[in-house]
Protein backbone atom coordinates (compact mmCIF):
# COMPACT_ATOMS: atom_id res chain seq x y z
CA UNK A 1 0.00 0.00 0.00
CA UNK A 2 2.96 2.36 0.46
CA UNK A 3 5.10 3.58 -2.44
CA UNK A 4 8.76 2.62 -2.68
CA UNK A 5 9.75 6.17 -1.86
CA UNK A 6 7.68 6.19 1.36
CA UNK A 7 9.30 2.95 2.46
CA UNK A 8 12.76 4.31 1.64
CA UNK A 9 12.23 7.43 3.76
CA UNK A 10 10.53 5.42 6.52
CA UNK A 11 13.33 2.87 6.72
CA UNK A 12 16.17 5.37 6.45
CA UNK A 13 14.79 8.77 7.41
CA UNK A 14 16.85 11.82 6.45
CA UNK A 15 17.76 14.56 8.93
CA UNK A 16 16.32 12.79 11.93
CA UNK A 17 17.14 14.21 15.34
CA UNK A 18 17.22 17.57 17.10
CA UNK A 19 19.02 20.88 16.58
CA UNK A 20 20.53 22.38 19.70
CA UNK A 21 19.59 26.04 19.98
CA UNK A 22 17.26 26.01 16.98
CA UNK A 23 16.02 29.21 15.35
CA UNK A 24 12.49 27.84 15.36
CA UNK A 25 10.52 24.75 16.42
CA UNK A 26 7.12 23.56 15.22
CA UNK A 27 5.08 20.82 16.88
CA UNK A 28 1.92 19.46 15.26
CA UNK A 29 -0.42 16.50 15.75
CA UNK A 30 -1.65 14.91 18.97
CA UNK A 31 -1.49 11.59 20.82
CA UNK A 32 -5.17 10.82 20.20
CA UNK A 33 -4.79 10.60 16.46
CA UNK A 34 -1.46 8.89 16.91
CA UNK A 35 0.97 11.24 15.18
CA UNK A 36 3.09 13.93 16.83
CA UNK A 37 5.73 15.70 14.79
CA UNK A 38 8.38 18.19 15.82
CA UNK A 39 10.37 20.17 13.23
CA UNK A 40 13.52 22.08 14.20
CA UNK A 41 15.03 24.72 11.90
CA UNK A 42 18.22 26.74 11.90
CA UNK A 43 17.90 29.99 9.91
CA UNK A 44 20.87 31.94 8.54
CA UNK A 45 21.16 34.93 6.25
CA UNK A 46 22.79 34.25 2.89
CA UNK A 47 25.03 36.60 0.92
CA UNK A 48 21.95 38.40 -0.45
CA UNK A 49 20.69 38.82 3.13
CA UNK A 50 17.84 36.38 2.53
CA UNK A 51 16.75 34.15 5.41
CA UNK A 52 17.68 30.59 4.51
CA UNK A 53 16.98 27.29 6.29
CA UNK A 54 20.54 26.11 6.76
CA UNK A 55 19.63 23.06 8.83
CA UNK A 56 16.43 21.22 9.54
CA UNK A 57 15.70 18.15 11.67
CA UNK A 58 12.72 16.24 12.95
CA UNK A 59 11.39 13.95 15.66
CA UNK A 60 8.19 12.04 14.93
CA UNK A 61 6.02 9.60 16.82
CA UNK A 62 3.67 8.12 14.27
CA UNK A 63 2.94 5.75 11.46
CA UNK A 64 5.20 4.99 8.52
CA UNK A 65 3.75 7.79 6.41
CA UNK A 66 4.12 10.31 9.24
CA UNK A 67 7.82 9.44 9.49
CA UNK A 68 8.28 9.45 5.70
CA UNK A 69 6.61 12.87 5.26
CA UNK A 70 8.77 14.29 8.06
CA UNK A 71 11.89 13.01 6.35
CA UNK A 72 10.73 14.35 2.98
CA UNK A 73 9.95 17.85 4.24
CA UNK A 74 13.47 18.17 5.58
CA UNK A 75 14.82 17.34 2.12
CA UNK A 76 12.42 19.76 0.43
CA UNK A 77 13.04 22.65 2.81
CA UNK A 78 16.78 22.42 3.37
CA UNK A 79 18.71 25.37 1.93
CA UNK A 80 15.48 27.06 0.83
CA UNK A 81 14.66 30.64 1.73
CA UNK A 82 11.81 31.01 4.21
CA UNK A 83 9.68 32.45 1.45
CA UNK A 84 10.27 29.39 -0.71
CA UNK A 85 9.81 27.01 2.22
CA UNK A 86 6.44 28.49 3.09
CA UNK A 87 5.23 27.60 -0.38
CA UNK A 88 5.70 23.84 0.20
CA UNK A 89 2.28 22.25 0.52
CA UNK A 90 1.01 18.92 1.84
CA UNK A 91 0.48 17.91 -1.77
CA UNK A 92 4.09 18.70 -2.67
CA UNK A 93 5.23 16.37 0.11
CA UNK A 94 2.87 13.60 -1.00
CA UNK A 95 3.92 13.99 -4.62
CA UNK A 96 7.62 13.89 -3.78
CA UNK A 97 6.90 10.61 -1.98
CA UNK A 98 5.25 9.22 -5.14
CA UNK A 99 1.87 9.39 -3.47
CA UNK A 100 0.35 8.43 -0.13
CA UNK A 101 -2.56 6.05 0.50
CA UNK A 102 -5.76 8.17 0.33
CA UNK A 103 -6.60 7.56 3.98
CA UNK A 104 -3.20 8.93 5.03
CA UNK A 105 -3.41 12.13 3.00
CA UNK A 106 -5.08 13.98 5.83
CA UNK A 107 -4.02 12.41 9.12
CA UNK A 108 -0.36 11.68 8.65
CA UNK A 109 0.54 14.33 6.12
CA UNK A 110 1.42 16.89 8.77
CA UNK A 111 4.96 17.79 7.80
CA UNK A 112 4.16 20.93 5.78
CA UNK A 113 2.15 22.22 8.76
CA UNK A 114 5.04 21.41 11.08
CA UNK A 115 7.48 23.36 8.92
CA UNK A 116 5.13 26.35 8.77
CA UNK A 117 4.80 26.26 12.58
CA UNK A 118 8.59 26.22 12.92
CA UNK A 119 8.91 29.25 10.63
CA UNK A 120 6.15 31.06 12.52
CA UNK A 121 7.97 30.31 15.77
CA UNK A 122 11.20 31.70 14.31
CA UNK A 123 9.47 34.86 13.11
CA UNK A 124 7.78 35.41 16.44
CA UNK A 125 11.07 35.15 18.26
CA UNK A 126 12.68 37.54 15.78
CA UNK A 127 9.88 40.05 15.28
CA UNK A 128 11.31 43.60 15.23
CA UNK A 129 9.68 44.75 18.46
CA UNK A 130 10.56 41.54 20.25
CA UNK A 131 6.88 40.90 20.96
CA UNK A 132 5.25 37.58 20.19
CA UNK A 133 2.73 38.28 17.51
CA UNK A 134 0.23 35.69 18.58
CA UNK A 135 0.44 35.92 22.33
CA UNK A 136 -2.16 33.78 24.02
Amino acid sequence: MYSKKVLEHFTRPHNQGVIKNPSGVGMVGNPTCGDIMKIYIKVKKDSKKREVISDIRFETLGCASAIATSSMITDLAKNKTLKEALKITRNDVAEALEGLPPIKMHCSNLAADGLREAIRDYREKNSPCGIRTTEK
Binding site: T11, Q16, T32, G34, E59, T60, C63, A66, I67, C107
Partner: protein, 420 residues
Protein backbone atom coordinates in the same frame (compact mmCIF):
# COMPACT_ATOMS: atom_id res chain seq x y z
CA UNK B 1 13.82 -13.84 3.48
CA UNK B 2 12.52 -15.57 6.58
CA UNK B 3 8.78 -15.43 7.07
CA UNK B 4 7.59 -15.70 10.63
CA UNK B 5 3.85 -15.67 10.88
CA UNK B 6 2.62 -14.52 14.27
CA UNK B 7 -0.91 -13.49 13.35
CA UNK B 8 -2.89 -16.71 13.82
CA UNK B 9 -5.79 -14.81 15.38
CA UNK B 10 -6.22 -13.07 12.01
CA UNK B 11 -6.22 -16.30 10.05
CA UNK B 12 -4.44 -19.65 9.81
CA UNK B 13 -3.02 -21.58 6.86
CA UNK B 14 -5.25 -24.40 5.62
CA UNK B 15 -3.91 -27.69 7.00
CA UNK B 16 -2.61 -29.88 4.13
CA UNK B 17 -4.80 -32.83 5.16
CA UNK B 18 -7.82 -30.54 5.30
CA UNK B 19 -7.01 -29.23 1.83
CA UNK B 20 -6.67 -32.79 0.48
CA UNK B 21 -10.09 -33.67 1.79
CA UNK B 22 -11.58 -30.58 0.17
CA UNK B 23 -9.99 -31.06 -3.25
CA UNK B 24 -12.41 -33.64 -4.74
CA UNK B 25 -15.35 -31.31 -4.14
CA UNK B 26 -14.17 -28.58 -6.50
CA UNK B 27 -14.02 -30.27 -9.92
CA UNK B 28 -14.92 -33.93 -9.45
CA UNK B 29 -17.81 -34.13 -7.00
CA UNK B 30 -18.92 -30.64 -7.85
CA UNK B 31 -22.66 -31.32 -7.58
CA UNK B 32 -25.12 -28.99 -5.88
CA UNK B 33 -26.02 -30.52 -2.54
CA UNK B 34 -29.67 -29.72 -3.24
CA UNK B 35 -29.77 -31.77 -6.48
CA UNK B 36 -31.43 -35.16 -6.35
CA UNK B 37 -29.23 -37.11 -8.78
CA UNK B 38 -26.22 -39.05 -7.52
CA UNK B 39 -23.69 -36.26 -8.10
CA UNK B 40 -25.76 -33.94 -5.95
CA UNK B 41 -26.35 -36.57 -3.33
CA UNK B 42 -22.62 -37.26 -3.03
CA UNK B 43 -22.16 -33.59 -2.18
CA UNK B 44 -25.06 -33.74 0.22
CA UNK B 45 -23.56 -36.77 1.97
CA UNK B 46 -20.27 -34.90 2.39
CA UNK B 47 -22.13 -31.94 3.89
CA UNK B 48 -23.99 -34.16 6.32
CA UNK B 49 -20.76 -35.88 7.36
CA UNK B 50 -19.27 -32.46 8.18
CA UNK B 51 -22.44 -31.47 10.02
CA UNK B 52 -22.06 -34.54 12.20
CA UNK B 53 -18.38 -33.75 12.83
CA UNK B 54 -19.29 -30.27 14.01
CA UNK B 55 -22.29 -31.45 16.03
CA UNK B 56 -20.16 -34.05 17.81
CA UNK B 57 -17.56 -31.45 18.72
CA UNK B 58 -20.18 -29.07 20.13
CA UNK B 59 -22.10 -31.87 21.85
CA UNK B 60 -25.10 -30.83 19.75
CA UNK B 61 -27.54 -32.44 17.36
CA UNK B 62 -26.95 -32.27 13.61
CA UNK B 63 -30.20 -30.40 13.14
CA UNK B 64 -28.78 -27.62 15.33
CA UNK B 65 -25.80 -26.87 13.06
CA UNK B 66 -26.24 -24.19 10.35
CA UNK B 67 -23.46 -23.54 7.86
CA UNK B 68 -22.85 -19.88 7.04
CA UNK B 69 -20.15 -17.88 5.25
CA UNK B 70 -18.26 -17.29 8.48
CA UNK B 71 -18.52 -15.91 12.00
CA UNK B 72 -19.60 -12.46 10.82
CA UNK B 73 -22.66 -13.92 9.14
CA UNK B 74 -23.29 -16.29 12.05
CA UNK B 75 -23.28 -13.38 14.51
CA UNK B 76 -25.55 -11.31 12.26
CA UNK B 77 -27.98 -14.21 11.92
CA UNK B 78 -27.95 -14.96 15.64
CA UNK B 79 -28.70 -11.42 16.75
CA UNK B 80 -30.89 -10.11 13.93
CA UNK B 81 -32.66 -13.47 13.59
CA UNK B 82 -33.65 -13.49 17.27
CA UNK B 83 -34.90 -9.89 17.12
CA UNK B 84 -36.92 -10.57 13.97
CA UNK B 85 -38.51 -13.65 15.46
CA UNK B 86 -39.37 -11.67 18.59
CA UNK B 87 -41.27 -9.03 16.59
CA UNK B 88 -43.37 -11.70 14.92
CA UNK B 89 -45.09 -12.26 18.24
CA UNK B 90 -44.56 -9.15 20.32
CA UNK B 91 -44.47 -5.40 19.98
CA UNK B 92 -42.73 -3.83 22.97
CA UNK B 93 -39.08 -3.04 22.41
CA UNK B 94 -36.72 -5.84 23.51
CA UNK B 95 -33.40 -5.38 25.30
CA UNK B 96 -30.05 -6.91 24.37
CA UNK B 97 -26.91 -7.11 26.51
CA UNK B 98 -23.45 -7.41 25.03
CA UNK B 99 -19.94 -6.25 25.92
CA UNK B 100 -18.00 -3.18 24.83
CA UNK B 101 -15.14 -5.24 23.46
CA UNK B 102 -16.92 -7.67 21.15
CA UNK B 103 -15.74 -8.15 17.61
CA UNK B 104 -17.19 -5.47 15.33
CA UNK B 105 -19.56 -7.96 13.71
CA UNK B 106 -21.43 -8.28 17.02
CA UNK B 107 -20.91 -4.72 18.23
CA UNK B 108 -22.00 -3.06 15.00
CA UNK B 109 -24.96 -5.41 14.58
CA UNK B 110 -26.25 -4.49 18.05
CA UNK B 111 -25.53 -0.79 17.51
CA UNK B 112 -27.36 -0.82 14.21
CA UNK B 113 -30.47 -2.45 15.69
CA UNK B 114 -30.33 0.13 18.45
CA UNK B 115 -30.07 2.96 15.92
CA UNK B 116 -32.98 1.55 13.96
CA UNK B 117 -34.94 1.79 17.17
CA UNK B 118 -35.63 -1.95 17.19
CA UNK B 119 -33.89 -2.71 20.47
CA UNK B 120 -32.50 -1.20 23.65
CA UNK B 121 -28.93 -2.20 24.29
CA UNK B 122 -26.58 -2.35 27.26
CA UNK B 123 -22.84 -2.65 26.71
CA UNK B 124 -20.91 -4.18 29.59
CA UNK B 125 -17.33 -3.05 30.09
CA UNK B 126 -14.71 -5.67 30.92
CA UNK B 127 -12.58 -5.19 34.01
CA UNK B 128 -9.03 -3.87 33.66
CA UNK B 129 -7.73 -7.41 33.12
CA UNK B 130 -9.92 -7.82 30.04
CA UNK B 131 -12.43 -10.16 31.64
CA UNK B 132 -16.12 -9.42 32.03
CA UNK B 133 -17.66 -9.94 35.46
CA UNK B 134 -20.70 -12.22 35.15
CA UNK B 135 -22.37 -10.22 37.93
CA UNK B 136 -22.29 -7.10 35.75
CA UNK B 137 -24.26 -9.00 33.14
CA UNK B 138 -26.70 -10.28 35.74
CA UNK B 139 -27.28 -6.76 37.05
CA UNK B 140 -28.02 -5.47 33.55
CA UNK B 141 -30.82 -7.97 32.89
CA UNK B 142 -34.26 -6.36 32.67
CA UNK B 143 -37.76 -7.74 32.20
CA UNK B 144 -37.56 -7.15 28.44
CA UNK B 145 -34.06 -8.62 27.96
CA UNK B 146 -34.22 -11.27 25.25
CA UNK B 147 -30.56 -11.89 24.46
CA UNK B 148 -27.11 -11.79 26.02
CA UNK B 149 -24.24 -11.95 23.54
CA UNK B 150 -20.75 -12.32 24.99
CA UNK B 151 -17.62 -13.49 23.23
CA UNK B 152 -15.78 -16.56 24.49
CA UNK B 153 -12.21 -15.39 23.80
CA UNK B 154 -11.38 -11.81 22.87
CA UNK B 155 -9.73 -11.60 19.47
CA UNK B 156 -7.28 -8.83 20.35
CA UNK B 157 -6.13 -9.56 23.86
CA UNK B 158 -7.05 -13.25 24.06
CA UNK B 159 -8.79 -12.97 27.42
CA UNK B 160 -11.24 -15.75 28.26
CA UNK B 161 -14.74 -14.78 29.36
CA UNK B 162 -16.71 -16.73 32.00
CA UNK B 163 -19.17 -18.18 29.47
CA UNK B 164 -20.19 -21.22 31.52
CA UNK B 165 -20.80 -19.00 34.54
CA UNK B 166 -22.98 -16.61 32.50
CA UNK B 167 -24.74 -19.63 30.98
CA UNK B 168 -25.56 -20.93 34.45
CA UNK B 169 -26.95 -17.66 35.70
CA UNK B 170 -29.12 -17.25 32.59
CA UNK B 171 -30.46 -20.76 33.07
CA UNK B 172 -31.38 -19.89 36.65
CA UNK B 173 -33.17 -16.73 35.58
CA UNK B 174 -35.10 -18.62 32.91
CA UNK B 175 -36.17 -21.27 35.42
CA UNK B 176 -37.36 -18.61 37.84
CA UNK B 177 -39.27 -16.89 35.02
CA UNK B 178 -40.93 -20.16 34.14
CA UNK B 179 -42.25 -20.49 37.68
CA UNK B 180 -43.60 -16.96 37.42
CA UNK B 181 -45.18 -18.04 34.12
CA UNK B 182 -43.32 -15.31 32.28
CA UNK B 183 -43.16 -16.24 28.64
CA UNK B 184 -40.11 -14.17 27.64
CA UNK B 185 -37.14 -16.51 27.46
CA UNK B 186 -33.68 -15.05 27.80
CA UNK B 187 -31.28 -16.41 25.17
CA UNK B 188 -27.51 -16.66 25.40
CA UNK B 189 -25.22 -16.29 22.40
CA UNK B 190 -21.45 -16.59 22.32
CA UNK B 191 -19.03 -15.81 19.55
CA UNK B 192 -16.57 -18.69 19.98
CA UNK B 193 -14.45 -17.87 16.93
CA UNK B 194 -11.19 -17.52 18.85
CA UNK B 195 -12.00 -20.29 21.32
CA UNK B 196 -12.51 -23.41 19.20
CA UNK B 197 -8.80 -24.22 18.92
CA UNK B 198 -8.12 -24.20 22.64
CA UNK B 199 -11.25 -24.34 24.77
CA UNK B 200 -14.15 -26.62 25.55
CA UNK B 201 -16.97 -25.75 23.18
CA UNK B 202 -19.60 -28.15 24.49
CA UNK B 203 -22.85 -26.23 24.29
CA UNK B 204 -24.39 -28.03 27.28
CA UNK B 205 -21.41 -27.27 29.46
CA UNK B 206 -21.38 -23.64 28.37
CA UNK B 207 -25.14 -23.27 28.62
CA UNK B 208 -25.42 -21.40 25.34
CA UNK B 209 -28.38 -21.26 22.97
CA UNK B 210 -26.44 -19.86 20.03
CA UNK B 211 -22.76 -20.17 19.20
CA UNK B 212 -20.74 -18.84 16.25
CA UNK B 213 -17.44 -19.97 14.78
CA UNK B 214 -15.34 -19.68 11.65
CA UNK B 215 -13.23 -22.33 9.87
CA UNK B 216 -10.28 -20.17 8.88
CA UNK B 217 -9.18 -19.66 12.48
CA UNK B 218 -8.73 -23.41 12.96
CA UNK B 219 -6.64 -24.29 9.90
CA UNK B 220 -9.70 -24.59 7.69
CA UNK B 221 -10.68 -22.54 4.63
CA UNK B 222 -11.97 -18.95 4.57
CA UNK B 223 -15.59 -18.18 3.75
CA UNK B 224 -17.23 -20.87 5.84
CA UNK B 225 -18.56 -20.88 9.38
CA UNK B 226 -21.20 -22.26 11.68
CA UNK B 227 -24.03 -21.03 13.82
CA UNK B 228 -25.22 -23.47 16.45
CA UNK B 229 -28.93 -22.89 17.12
CA UNK B 230 -30.47 -24.79 19.99
CA UNK B 231 -33.47 -26.88 18.99
CA UNK B 232 -36.81 -25.16 19.43
CA UNK B 233 -35.30 -21.70 19.64
CA UNK B 234 -37.31 -18.87 18.18
CA UNK B 235 -35.25 -17.46 15.30
CA UNK B 236 -36.01 -16.16 11.81
CA UNK B 237 -33.87 -16.18 8.69
CA UNK B 238 -32.34 -12.87 7.63
CA UNK B 239 -31.37 -13.86 4.08
CA UNK B 240 -34.14 -14.82 1.68
CA UNK B 241 -33.94 -17.41 -1.07
CA UNK B 242 -34.05 -21.21 -1.10
CA UNK B 243 -34.81 -23.52 1.76
CA UNK B 244 -31.24 -24.58 2.50
CA UNK B 245 -30.08 -25.13 6.08
CA UNK B 246 -33.53 -25.93 7.46
CA UNK B 247 -34.85 -22.74 5.94
CA UNK B 248 -32.56 -20.60 8.06
CA UNK B 249 -29.82 -19.74 5.60
CA UNK B 250 -30.65 -19.43 1.92
CA UNK B 251 -27.91 -20.00 -0.66
CA UNK B 252 -26.18 -22.90 -2.42
CA UNK B 253 -24.04 -24.75 0.07
CA UNK B 254 -20.29 -24.17 -0.10
CA UNK B 255 -19.54 -27.89 -0.25
CA UNK B 256 -15.70 -27.81 -0.38
CA UNK B 257 -15.72 -25.23 2.41
CA UNK B 258 -18.07 -27.29 4.54
CA UNK B 259 -15.95 -30.42 3.99
CA UNK B 260 -12.88 -28.40 5.00
CA UNK B 261 -14.58 -27.07 8.12
CA UNK B 262 -15.62 -30.56 9.19
CA UNK B 263 -12.14 -31.87 8.60
CA UNK B 264 -10.51 -28.97 10.48
CA UNK B 265 -12.76 -29.47 13.48
CA UNK B 266 -11.94 -33.19 13.37
CA UNK B 267 -8.24 -32.25 13.68
CA UNK B 268 -8.96 -30.06 16.71
CA UNK B 269 -10.89 -32.93 18.26
CA UNK B 270 -8.09 -35.44 17.74
CA UNK B 271 -5.59 -33.04 19.34
CA UNK B 272 -7.86 -32.83 22.39
CA UNK B 273 -8.13 -36.60 22.57
CA UNK B 274 -4.36 -36.87 22.32
CA UNK B 275 -4.10 -34.48 25.24
CA UNK B 276 -6.37 -36.69 27.31
CA UNK B 277 -4.41 -39.81 26.29
CA UNK B 278 -0.87 -38.54 26.74
CA UNK B 279 -1.36 -36.02 29.48
CA UNK B 280 -1.06 -32.27 29.48
CA UNK B 281 2.66 -31.94 29.15
CA UNK B 282 2.78 -33.60 25.78
CA UNK B 283 -0.11 -31.78 24.20
CA UNK B 284 0.13 -29.18 21.47
CA UNK B 285 -2.01 -26.70 23.42
CA UNK B 286 0.37 -26.76 26.35
CA UNK B 287 3.39 -26.55 24.09
CA UNK B 288 1.95 -23.36 22.59
CA UNK B 289 1.19 -21.98 26.03
CA UNK B 290 4.75 -22.59 27.21
CA UNK B 291 6.10 -20.85 24.11
CA UNK B 292 3.68 -17.96 24.63
CA UNK B 293 4.82 -17.45 28.22
CA UNK B 294 8.40 -17.57 27.02
CA UNK B 295 7.55 -14.86 24.47
CA UNK B 296 5.77 -12.63 27.02
CA UNK B 297 8.58 -12.93 29.55
CA UNK B 298 11.27 -12.31 26.95
CA UNK B 299 9.59 -9.15 25.63
CA UNK B 300 8.89 -7.69 29.07
CA UNK B 301 12.43 -8.49 30.20
CA UNK B 302 14.35 -7.36 27.13
CA UNK B 303 12.35 -4.34 25.98
CA UNK B 304 12.05 -1.48 28.46
CA UNK B 305 8.71 0.32 28.93
CA UNK B 306 6.67 -2.58 27.62
CA UNK B 307 3.63 -4.09 29.27
CA UNK B 308 1.15 -6.90 28.71
CA UNK B 309 -2.46 -5.99 27.95
CA UNK B 310 -5.07 -8.23 29.57
CA UNK B 311 -4.82 -11.00 32.14
CA UNK B 312 -1.89 -13.37 31.77
CA UNK B 313 -3.82 -16.21 33.42
CA UNK B 314 -7.30 -15.98 31.92
CA UNK B 315 -5.85 -15.89 28.45
CA UNK B 316 -5.87 -17.91 25.26
CA UNK B 317 -2.69 -20.06 25.03
CA UNK B 318 -1.65 -18.41 21.78
CA UNK B 319 -2.17 -14.70 22.46
CA UNK B 320 0.33 -11.99 23.36
CA UNK B 321 -0.69 -8.33 23.32
CA UNK B 322 1.84 -5.77 24.50
CA UNK B 323 2.12 -2.00 24.50
CA UNK B 324 5.42 -0.24 23.90
CA UNK B 325 5.44 3.36 25.05
CA UNK B 326 6.72 6.02 22.62
CA UNK B 327 6.15 3.75 19.62
CA UNK B 328 3.34 3.78 17.08
CA UNK B 329 2.05 0.36 16.11
CA UNK B 330 1.62 0.74 12.38
CA UNK B 331 5.23 1.82 11.88
CA UNK B 332 6.34 -1.02 14.15
CA UNK B 333 4.33 -3.47 12.03
CA UNK B 334 5.87 -2.10 8.84
CA UNK B 335 9.35 -2.45 10.26
CA UNK B 336 8.68 -6.02 11.43
CA UNK B 337 7.21 -6.88 8.06
CA UNK B 338 10.41 -5.71 6.36
CA UNK B 339 12.27 -8.26 8.50
CA UNK B 340 9.75 -11.00 7.74
CA UNK B 341 7.82 -10.93 11.02
CA UNK B 342 4.05 -10.69 10.58
CA UNK B 343 1.91 -9.39 13.44
CA UNK B 344 -0.91 -6.96 14.10
CA UNK B 345 -1.69 -3.82 16.13
CA UNK B 346 -4.55 -1.91 17.73
CA UNK B 347 -3.23 1.35 16.34
CA UNK B 348 -5.72 3.58 14.56
CA UNK B 349 -3.25 4.08 11.73
CA UNK B 350 -3.49 0.46 10.72
CA UNK B 351 -7.27 0.29 10.77
CA UNK B 352 -9.32 1.36 7.80
CA UNK B 353 -11.45 3.54 10.04
CA UNK B 354 -8.55 5.41 11.69
CA UNK B 355 -10.02 4.78 15.12
CA UNK B 356 -7.90 3.14 17.81
CA UNK B 357 -8.73 -0.33 19.13
CA UNK B 358 -12.06 -0.29 20.99
CA UNK B 359 -10.86 -3.34 22.91
CA UNK B 360 -7.82 -1.62 24.39
CA UNK B 361 -9.81 1.56 25.08
CA UNK B 362 -12.37 -0.60 26.94
CA UNK B 363 -9.51 -1.77 29.17
CA UNK B 364 -8.85 1.86 30.08
CA UNK B 365 -5.76 2.41 27.96
CA UNK B 366 -4.99 5.94 26.73
CA UNK B 367 -5.19 6.46 22.95
CA UNK B 368 -1.40 6.64 22.62
CA UNK B 369 -1.12 3.35 24.51
CA UNK B 370 -3.48 1.67 22.07
CA UNK B 371 -1.48 3.12 19.17
CA UNK B 372 1.64 1.48 20.60
CA UNK B 373 0.15 -2.00 20.90
CA UNK B 374 1.37 -5.13 19.19
CA UNK B 375 -0.53 -8.41 18.97
CA UNK B 376 1.41 -11.62 18.39
CA UNK B 377 -0.61 -14.81 18.04
CA UNK B 378 1.12 -18.18 17.87
CA UNK B 379 0.11 -21.23 15.89
CA UNK B 380 0.65 -24.94 16.08
CA UNK B 381 3.82 -24.72 14.00
CA UNK B 382 5.45 -21.78 15.80
CA UNK B 383 8.92 -22.63 17.09
CA UNK B 384 11.15 -21.28 19.84
CA UNK B 385 13.67 -20.29 17.21
CA UNK B 386 11.04 -18.16 15.49
CA UNK B 387 10.13 -16.51 18.79
CA UNK B 388 13.79 -15.71 19.46
CA UNK B 389 14.17 -14.16 16.03
CA UNK B 390 10.91 -12.21 16.38
CA UNK B 391 11.91 -10.73 19.75
CA UNK B 392 15.29 -9.74 18.33
CA UNK B 393 13.59 -7.91 15.47
CA UNK B 394 10.93 -6.33 17.71
CA UNK B 395 13.59 -5.08 20.09
CA UNK B 396 15.64 -3.56 17.29
CA UNK B 397 12.58 -1.94 15.70
CA UNK B 398 11.27 -0.49 18.97
CA UNK B 399 14.69 0.99 19.68
CA UNK B 400 14.86 2.52 16.23
CA UNK B 401 11.35 3.99 16.38
CA UNK B 402 11.98 5.38 19.85
CA UNK B 403 15.05 7.11 18.49
CA UNK B 404 12.94 8.64 15.71
CA UNK B 405 10.24 9.79 18.11
CA UNK B 406 12.72 11.19 20.64
CA UNK B 407 10.90 13.10 23.36
CA UNK B 408 7.94 14.37 21.35
CA UNK B 409 5.29 12.74 23.53
CA UNK B 410 6.78 14.22 26.69
CA UNK B 411 7.23 17.59 24.97
CA UNK B 412 3.63 17.51 23.82
CA UNK B 413 2.33 17.02 27.36
CA UNK B 414 4.67 19.73 28.67
CA UNK B 415 3.27 22.23 26.16
CA UNK B 416 -0.30 21.15 26.92
CA UNK B 417 0.27 21.58 30.65
CA UNK B 418 1.85 24.97 30.07
CA UNK B 419 -1.04 26.15 27.91
CA UNK B 420 -3.60 24.85 30.35
Amino acid sequence: MKQIYLDHAATTPVDKKVLNEMMPYFSQNFGNASSLYSLGQEASLAVEKARKQVADFFGAKEREIIFTSGATESNNLAIKGVVRAYYKKKKNKPHIITTTFEHHCVLNTVKKLEKENLIEATFINPKKDGVVDARDIKNAIKSNTILVSAMYVNNEIGTVQPIAEIGKLIKKINEANKLKAKSCQLLFHTDATQAVNYFNCNVEKLGVDLMSMSAHKIYGPKGIGVLYIKKGLNITRIQDGGEQEFGLRAGTLNVPGIVGLGSAIEKVKSLRQRRIRLGRKKSKIDEIKILRNYLIDKILKEIPDSRLNGSKIKRSPNNVNVTFSRVEGESLLMMLSQEGVFASTGSACSSGSLSPSHVLLALGLKPEETHGSLRLTLGKNTTKKEIDYAVKVIKKSVEKLRKVSGNVLEDYYKVMKHEA
